[in-house]
């Protein structure tokens, strides 16, 4: 299976999800040339070991600082990887921008709406099925700190796929 990159804005719970996925087998390293740390670990999937990388948080694929530069170059240096895009479910709209940029570059992706409990507390209702239909990729909700939804995420990893941005656009506009 492909290498997995965990991407998303800063402070959406990427590392919490990373820890849930990989357990304690973590290798921490410095990305060459910068002082930004990243962490990689391994996930057991159907008796195979899959590499998972906890990429530094970034708002977009146009880097504005060193950490974002690392995030973007990690994505671009791993063209054949699969991306788990993590969004704060209570701030979903602004996270979708990054997801769409990742999809546009052709990476197979799966969307995780983390902090689902926070969204519920704020009375934010999200139609997962509709979001899945529009985006054309699997969408799962998680509460990483309690571990809820992580199993679902792991089972849906295989369904991650590349989709065309034009298709998403036409579904958003109701043409499909």
């Amino acid at each position: 299976m492909r290498k997995i990159l965990l991407m998303g804005h800063p402070n959406v719970g990427k590392s919490a999800i990373f820890n849930r996925l990989t357990g304690a087998n973590i290798i921490e390293s410095n990305y060459p040339g910068t002082t930004v740390d990243y962490t990689k670990g391994f996930l057991r999937l159907e008796d195979k070991s899959v590499e998972v990388v906890d990429v530094p948080g970034t708002f977009s694929l146009q880097p504005k600082d060193k950490a974002e530069e690392v995030a973007v170059s990690m994505l671009h240096n791993n063209k054949d990887s699969l991306v788990i895009c993590v969004i704060d479910a209570s701030k979903i709209e602004r996270g979708l921008y990054l997801l769409l940029e990742i999809i546009e570059e052709g990476y197979p992706a799966i969307l995780v709406l983390n902090m689902w409990d926070v969204a519920e507390d704020k009375n934010i209702q999200i139609d997962l099925d509709e979001l899945e239909r529009i985006l054309g990729i699997p969408v799962v909700w998680t509460i990483a700190i309690s571990g809820e939804g992580i199993k679902e995420l792991v089972t849906k990893l295989k369904q991650a796929k590349s989709v065309m941005i034009d298709g998403i656009l036409s579904r958003v506009e109701g043409r499909e």
Binding site: T58, S60, L61, Q62, K91, E93, R94, Y97, L98, E101
Partner: protein, 75 residues
């Protein structure tokens, strides 16, 4: 009434009607886009950054950037 974001005072809100081309891409990822509603949460002294609330999330913008964002003030 149309104002620059840098001219808004604390507590004022409005809709973004224009963003200068050179910064559009830079701030789009943070959710700052034309059509969005925003509210000024705080302004820092000595030409410090302006903190705005957009879609449940706070973003701080420098004066330089705030100068290039046009806002239609909500009455």
């Amino acid at each position: 009434m149309k104002k620059r974001l840098s001219e808004l005072s604390c507590g004022e809100s409005g809709f973004i009607i224009d963003i200068a081309e050179d910064i559009k891409q830079k701030i789009a990822g943070m959710g700052v886009r034309v059509g969005k509603e925003l509210k000024v949460i705080s302004k820092q002294p000595l030409k410090g950054p302006i903190v705005v609330m957009i879609d449940e999330s706070k973003t701080s913008l420098s004066q330089k950037i705030a100068d290039k964002i046009a806002v239609e003030i909500k009455e």
